[in-house]
Amino acid sequence: MRILTRVAYVLGLPVVLVLLWWVLTIDSTNFFVPEPGELAATFVDTWIGPRFREDVLPSVARFTVGTLLAIVLGVAAGLLIGSVRWLRSLLEPMLEFFRALPPPVLVPVLMLLIGVDNRMKVLVIVFGAIWPVLLNTVEGVRAVDPVLVDTARTYGLTRLTRLRTLVLPSAAPQIAAGVRQALSIGLILMVISEMFASSSGLGFTIVVFQRSFAVVEMWSGIVLLGLIGVAVSIVFQACERRVLHWYYGQKEVQHGR
């Protein structure tokens, strides 16, 4: 009975929305909005096949490499900048500027500096996605509980051990928040670097559909991008839960649920 209620809660609204969509489009000849069945069929025709390997996989690969690089570099630099106080003061205004710079403007810049190739598309993602990770790491390192630091020092933990067992874990919730932002920026940059300067990839293909008024195919591309976004979010949440289970546990206890 309880499981049934839960399933009803999860599926209720989506089912209602799809039904509504279906009812509203069943008789309409609206050029812009396909009906659900048509869209599903087109989705399979368009994306399951050679296009998957030629356009989708390379895009996803560039996104993965770029974001992972951004996360690794961001955390490393953030740990360094966060634990050295003069370095933090020296770099903070510049970092704030780079964080505030809307990442899409990097696309034309890197196009000029590097050219239009895979390297550029990966670098755009790295340059755009690194800032939230870096700045959140700095913030997280700075906010490490001084009592914990003193505890670690009285037990004679070395600097490296402290970094691994104390600083990194206690900054982890902040870092995770940064990574979440980095992922969505990475996805944005993946798409627009291909829309702006490319002859293949997901972003490029969708724009071609739109320009040739292949509306249903265009919608299927939007759906695919949405699915990728959802998949990325699911993977992220699974990782976050694993790494930060202690954090959520503590929070729950503090809030007396």
Partner: protein, 280 residues
């Protein structure tokens, strides 16, 4: 510097045994300024030394000079106005919608459970996926960009408001109920103040994302504003102008962040202090 009475308002507690003199004690503001100057000098030297060709990256002085002369043209300010207007309208609408829906959904267990799966599905969809749809529907008008901005920043606000409403302390909630506060009074005196820190976070994140999507829309779809100006400068080979415009978007971003933090701090005076007390 011996008899220092510890004041609770010192926001950076000095690490023990390291306060004593070491090196030149430059203030952090001076160091920050040094960082900016260092960055500009490095940029200048990298280009002057020929490490990067000047037609790809003009020197810092050229770009700053270009920005100054741009600042004397009305076209430039028209672009700035267009960008800021799109950003502001988009943020205002999504903030109003996000806060209103968040307060209603967040307070009803039924609505929270019923909408959860849909929200978790719609939220991660990158709003740039809507670019083709927007340009199909609205062409290169401002609405196209506005649609992207709305979609992106709405979720930021809504999610934070939901977190915030969910974070209302159960004891505070019991207190309000035992004193007979009704729905409206609870929202006004309890739910809204409790959720405010989250609302502010949502607005700050939403404001940043809204700017990103404003520039993206203008860059990819066109229709005016700084993004379009950058795209035009890029395709027209006006490299120095392109960099100057990019700097300007960065300045707008910094200004938005500063204002957002200022508003946040003012609205949450009580909250920041609570946290400080807990740390102390």
């Amino acid at each position: 510097m011996t008899s220092v009475t510890a004041s609770p308002s010192a926001d950076t507690p000095a690490p023990p045994r390291r306060a004593g003199g070491r090196g030149a004690p430059l203030s952090s503001a001076a160091l920050g300024l040094l960082g900016i100057v260092g960055f500009l000098v490095t940029w200048e030297l990298v280009v002057r030394s020929g490490l990067v060709e000047e037609r790809f990256l003009p020197t810092a002085s050229t770009v700053l000079g270009e920005l100054r002369s741009l600042a004397g043209t009305s076209d430039f300010w028209a672009s700035v106005r267009e960008t800021v207007t799109t950003w502001a309208i988009g943020l205002a609408i999504s903030a109003a919608a996000g806060v209103a829906l968040g307060l209603v959904i967040g307070q009803s267990r039924f609505l929270r459970r019923a909408t959860n799966s849909t929200i978790e599905f719609l939220r991660p969809i990158p709003s740039v996926a809507l670019i083709p749809l927007a340009s199909l529907l609205y062409g290169t008008s401002m609405q196209s960009t506005l649609l992207l901005v709305l979609y992106a920043s709405f979720w930021q606000v809504l999610i934070q408001v939901l977190y915030g409403v969910g974070d209302v302390d159960p004891v505070a909630s019991d207190t309000a109920r035992s004193y007979g506060l009704g729905w409206a009074a609870r929202v006004r005196y309890l739910v809204w103040p409790s959720a405010l820190p989250y609302v502010m976070t949502g607005l700050r994140l939403g404001a940043a994302v809204a700017l990103i999507l404003t520039i993206t829309g203008e860059l990819i779809i066109g229709g005016g504003g700084l993004g379009t100006a950058i795209a035009l400068a890029n395709s027209g080979g006006a490299t120095a102008q392109m960099y100057a415009l990019i700097l300007m978007t960065g300045f707008i971003g910094v200004a938005i962040n500063l204002v957002a933090r200022l508003v946040e701090r003012r609205a949450l005076r009580w909250h920041v202090s609570v946290r400080r007390e807990e740390v102390a």
